[in-house]
Assembly symmetry: C2
Homo-oligomer: 139 residues x 2
DNA sequence: CTGGATCCCCACTGATACTG
DNA sequence: CAGTATCAGTGGGGATCCAG
């Protein structure tokens, strides 16, 4: 735990580059902290959905598709607690509550795009690898 | 599902930029697939540990600290199946098995650094947000 | 409309013991 | 050395009902 950290250049491709990063003290272990935050089944979708502007509870419920009322509430609370969503209550009747991604969440979203990019570049390769692996197991 | 995707520039800061990205069809929903792969408790640590070169089973077991033999095996199998680790068996006695991160895994590792960077920039903010939130709940 | 409360399931994880 | 097998605990997540 608690290793040193420095600013990260991060446009590299080779094994040597990765070596250099590790030697420089880049410790990707803290991602556990991030993964605990956004690793939930719905967190990312909620951030994306509320990235364009205020979204109401029911809007999100309809948009996310498959999410239960319980998990919607829980995940929203979690994200709000972490400062990733701003919750605004309008004391009207019936009540109206809006959720909106904070700037910090938008940056996280942009960071996620790098992972998305990786996924897109390699998903086929991963799928093929799985097939090969499963085929070998069958034999 | 199955939205369009395009190459990603991804050096932006504003809400408008995020809007532009979403409009352009960047769908960060697939990260679920990534998160299922690396969201495990030990996956990232194993990738990092085996990023510098071949690592033996027992080496990893000692290095990771806290991992059980069972989870080490399971996670290694999972990563191998996805093509993120290469497993090499030397039919000697006693047996010798080496695990090494593939180029694809190294790229993933580099992508994770972006998230790590986000975490480092905002961890204090998140912590403060949590304190505020919890304080409000207490009242 | 926006949740809170409750019950339940099961996948992930850990602990321990055994083996080629 | 490098696993496998088995049992048990925990928590995330779903279903349902209730309430301000």
């Amino acid at each position: 735990m608690s290793q040193r950290h420095t600013a990260v250049p991060a446009e590299l491709r080779s094994r040597a580059d990765a070596d250099a990063l590790i030697d420089a003290g880049y410790c990707p272990i803290p991602p556990r902290e991030i993964l605990d935050t956004i690793g939930g089944k719905w967190a990312i979708q909620l951030i994306v959905a509320s990235a364009r502007g205020p979204m109401r509870f029911t809007e999100l419920e309809r948009l996310i598709e498959g999410i239960s009322r319980r998990m919607l509430t829980l995940t929203l609370r979690h994200l709000e607690r972490d400062g990733l969503l701003k919750r605004t209550v309008y004391p009207t009747v019936p009540p109206k509550v809006e959720y909106e991604a904070t700037p910090m969440a938008l940056e996280l979203y942009e960071a996620m795009l790098v992972l998305t990019n990786w996924s897109r570049r390699h998903s086929a390769c991963v799928a093929r690898s799985r097939e090969d692996y499963d085929a070998r197991q069958a034999s």
